[in-house]
Symmetry: C2
Subunit: 145 residues, 2 copies
């Protein structure tokens, strides 16, 4: 499958669609990212959540580096066909900060979400304190952009 041929018509007129990942078991909203046609097709073909990075202009698979993949149980579409909901089983945590969910803070800065892994251990850290490899904020395993 090279295209997202779906029974429900999707509105791609504005480009990649916002895709909400929700933990299928707990109901936690884990992250919001974007899905291109290709990302959606790859998600359906592999059963693993794929997204489109708007900043890098490329396809990425969630957990490609960290191993924190999302197994997609179901994809839902909204009434207008311009937003997606991935119901997922999340390996590890969704957020590159180590939290279960990228939405771990309230607007006033209180941390309400649980930290479930140590990002330095997962993504690696160089001796000067910077992060190594691709697990940085501009890397291939990001949550949102």
């Amino acid at each position: 499958m090279t295209e997202a041929d779906t029974a429900v018509a999707l509105d791609w007129s504005d480009g990649p669609l916002p895709a909400v990942a929700q933990d299928a078991e707990t109901g936690a909203v884990l992250m919001l990212a974007y899905a291109s046609r290709e990302a959606l097709a790859q998600t359906r073909e592999t059963g693993l959540a794929h997204y489109h990075s708007r900043s890098r202009g490329e396809l990425w698979q969630k957990g490609e580096e960290s191993g924190h993949v999302q197994r997609v149980a179901e994809v839902r579409v909204d009434c207008d066909g311009d937003a997606l909901l991935y119901l997922v089983e999340q390996e590890g945590g969704a957020c590159h900060t180590g939290h279960e969910s990228c939405f771990y803070r309230t607007l006033d800065g209180s941390t309400v979400g649980e930290r479930v892994f140590d990002p330095d251990a997962v993504y690696g850290e160089t001796p000067d304190g910077g992060r190594s490899g691709r697990g940085t904020r501009s890397g291939r395993d990001r949550g949102s952009r």
Copy 2:
């Protein structure tokens, strides 16, 4: 308050932020819309969910016409500061189709969400079968755009 002055820095560089509304009690993801600074400020000031219509370029309050308001218990922000999560108590249903959630269909067209109200009764219908007033797909009480 005329601006969204938040402790957590938000990234408005791409314009209004995608905002996911989640039922605070059931965990159901109800809809995805967009929040401008003004919409976020109004949401915080009134405790009722406000969004920004990208197609009409204006502020709208969810439930303004239908009465199906969203009382916002908490606003969360994601790790990048470019997506919002409204935890809400939803009056009636979130979707203009009468469903609890706008995400009531799977990608293959199966209806998995519950219908909780009759949209014709809520939004009105004219004798020729069209809808009256502002409760149409281009009206002021829409879910997504």
